[in-house]
């Protein structure tokens, strides 16, 4: 969809009511409304307090291991014979993905609010592990909601969460995946409003979550800006990231949104292919609607019922996308493309063999797009892809898909 007029800035959202254009907002039951207004107030107070930033910076450096490296993927670059490819190595963070960036930020907000019990939803388990990790670190009670289907396909992460002291509650309702885990977390929150903080893992949900998560993840793009300046003396030509809810992507993209020459590509999961109907590409195959507190692109039927998503990647298996992505798509600032299960599996194997890096299936989707695009681009084209998670958790899924018994 072509956007409206070119804007002076793409970094101004959300507005005071939490909207990005027609997207975003606070579509929650009245019982939760006072809570999310309280979260908004608490987050604003944190933003205004230099001590909060200092504390987060300290934890990011000494606990999570930031900054993560910006790595020149030399052999893949040679292999593609086109664009010069860099990986932002967010899979090297503590807990193995970018999710820790957001969890460290939000846990500090939660503690300032005096909350003692943390709940979260998780798909691939990356956010659940990161949440369980920060709860262990700060001695807070932790309950993770996870679809029964995801528990089955992400066993290693379930065990990790339990080792970290979290209670993992399986959700067998609906499609037993991430969206149902989110419904169940919302139901928990509404019943435990006094002591509980809902630590949402992606840049979606009611305001202020999409903005707050974006802010905590923007460290990714800010580091890239500095690191690429050091390595190449200039800005990137293009940025590529996988998009489920879209937190790693918005974290990489946001600091560059007003650099008009930097092209950006969000890669949705096309599952068995957009035309098969079995996919998780909300922009390519969905339409605007309201779910989980925000208006955004959703997979839905003609009656407005939410459809099942499908992706080999549990982390992308969600029928919606963060509202800021919906808006940036609508404005035409970011291009959203997709990659199938099969393409992601090919990328997974190629990256493992040529770079010695097992990518998570989520960034494997981003790499699948890179595989298509990089060979067509000139050698002086600088491309940065967010390697947002490591693939150790996915070895069982990949083995099964390749017909190998472990």
């Amino acid at each position: 969809m072509a956007g409206a007029e070119t804007l002076n800035t793409y970094r101004g959202g959300a507005d005071e009511n939490g909207h990005f254009g027609i997207f975003g907002g606070r579509y929650v039951a009245e019982t939760l409304m006072p809570l999310i207004l309280e979260v908004e107030k608490a987050y604003a107070a944190c933003q205004a307090d230099p001590k909060f930033a200092a504390e987060l910076k300290h934890l990011s450096t000494h606990y999570a291991g930031r900054p993560s490296a910006l790595y020149f993927a030399e052999r893949l670059t040679q292999h593609f014979g086109g664009a010069k490819l860099y990986f932002k190595r967010d899979e090297l963070n503590h807990t193995g993905s970018h999710k820790i960036n957001n969890c460290l930020g939000q846990i500090l907000v939660a503690m300032r609010m005096g909350k003692t019990r943390i709940i979260a939803e998780t798909g691939a388990g990356q956010h659940g592990v990161a949440t369980a990790t920060v709860c262990a670190r700060f001695g807070l009670k932790c309950v993770i909601y996870m679809g029964a289907k995801d528990i089955e396909r992400q066993k290693p992460n379930v065990f990790r969460m339990r080792m970290l002291g979290a209670e993992v509650r399986g959700v067998d309702k609906g499609t037993a995946t991430l969206k149902d885990a989110m419904n169940e977390a919302l139901r928990d929150w509404v019943a435990n409003v006094d002591d509980t903080y809902y630590l949402i893992g992606t840049a979606a949900g009611p305001h202020p979550y999409p903005t707050m998560v974006r802010d905590f993840q923007s460290v990714i793009g800010e580091e890239v800006r500095t690191q690429l300046q050091d390595a190449e003396g200039r800005l990137p030509d293009s940025l590529v990231a996988a998009v489920g809810g879209g937190s790693n992507a918005i974290g990489l993209f946001f600091p560059f949104l007003d650099d008009g020459d930097v092209k950006m590509f969000g890669v949705e999961a096309a599952g068995h292919g957009i035309h098969s109907g079995e996919h998780a590409a909300s922009i390519a195959g969905g339409s605007p609607g309201v779910l989980h507190g925000n208006r955004t692109y959703l997979l839905q039927d003609e009656g407005g019922q939410i459809k099942d998503a499908h992706s080999i990647s549990a982390g992308l298996d969600y029928p919606g996308i963060g509202p800021e992505h919906a808006w940036l798509h609508f404005q035409g600032r970011i291009t959203y493309v997709s990659a199938t299960d099969k393409e992601a599996l090919e990328a997974f194997q190629l990256c493992s063999k040529l770079e010695g890096i097992l990518p998570a299936l989520e960034p494997a989707h981003a790499l699948a797009y890179v595989m298509r695009a990089a060979p067509t681009l000139p050698k002086d084209h600088l491309m940065v892809m967010n390697m947002c998670g490591r693939g150790d958790k996915d070895v069982f899924t990949v083995a099964e898909a390749l017909g190998t018994k472990l």
Partner: protein
């Protein structure tokens, strides 16, 4: 933005007329909730048409949604049963139309989540609902801050938008809700999902007293009312008691594992509604 308010005494709308009648008889009302087409379109219609005679003073019909994040297991399952029949908004409106052929006094309130309505079109929905004979709409995930896009069309079609207030709605926040409210105020008695915990009578007494300091609209109290005794206790303090999950549970008990419905289920459900009505009307000879 200042919002034009519907006149609560508006006699053009059945909700105001019904609460006036209840006030005249000095008794609280019973509001019953069932999901459209649960367990089947036929049995649902039998239940719906029997509700006024069984003692329901106002009727809420749930529009089923795939992701009812504010509902407990009972209403989640009832929505899934309804969706198995492919239930859409047009089917719900058709049921209301059919009901209205014989019944012109009992208010009908549609209750659901915003996405199916948004997908249908706010204006199209408001116009079609008015034509079918709908009197009020409750959209669980449209708080006052997000309600205007639909509310403007409901107002234009003389349909009340019923807002929820909750134990978490502070005195500072209540004017935001009640400034837009018309028809009646729906007080969610517990912090939780439908069909789980129950509030104490004392808590409801305090809550309704607090609400009445902010509004002259009738107050209906729901969430957690399961028995005639509870309905009686709530009715002492509220203008109406809402019962949903407990009725839906009776429906669920009549659905066999293979999805077929036991004979006489509609009668059984209506008997239960009668017992609730006896409870609510316990204050009225």
């Amino acid at each position: 933005m200042s919002v034009p308010k519907l006149n609560p005494e508006n006699t053009g709308n059945r909700i105001a007329a019904r609460f006036e009648l209840l006030a005249k008889h000095k008794r609280p009302g019973l509001v019953t909730f069932i999901t459209a087409n649960d367990p089947t379109p036929g049995v649902f219609m039998d239940i719906l048409e029997g509700l006024p005679a069984a003692g329901a003073d106002l009727i809420e019909i749930g529009i089923p949604f795939s992701d009812p994040a504010a509902d407990g297991p009972a209403i989640q399952l009832s929505g899934q049963r309804a969706l198995k029949h492919g239930t859409k908004i047009d089917d719900v409106l058709e049921a209301v139309r059919e009901f209205r052929r014989d019944e012109i006094d009992t208010p009908i309130i549609l209750m659901g989540y915003y996405n199916p309505i948004y997908h249908y079109g706010d204006q199209e929905f408001a116009e079609a609902a008015a034509k079918a004979g709908v009197d009020g709409v409750i959209v669980v995930d449209l708080p006052p801050e997000e309600s205007e896009e639909l509310h403007v069309h409901l107002r234009a079609n003389d349909i009340h938008m019923i807002f929820l207030s909750a134990p978490t709605s502070s005195d500072a926040r209540l004017p935001t809700i009640l400034g837009k409210a018309s028809g009646f105020v729906y007080y969610v008695a517990i912090t939780g999902i439908t069909g789980t915990a129950s509030a104490s009578e004392d808590a409801v007494k305090a809550a309704t007293a607090r609400l009445r300091r902010h509004t002259t609209l009738p107050i209906a109290v729901g969430f957690g009312i399961r028995t005639p005794q509870q309905a009686y206790a709530i009715g002492k303090h509220a203008d109406a008691a809402v019962v949903g999950s407990a009725i839906v549970d009776v429906i669920a008990q009549g659905v066999k594992p293979d999805g077929t419905v036991e004979k006489g289920l509609a009668v059984k459900v209506l008997e239960f509604v009668k017992s609730l009505a006896t409870g609510v009307h316990g204050t009225w000879p």
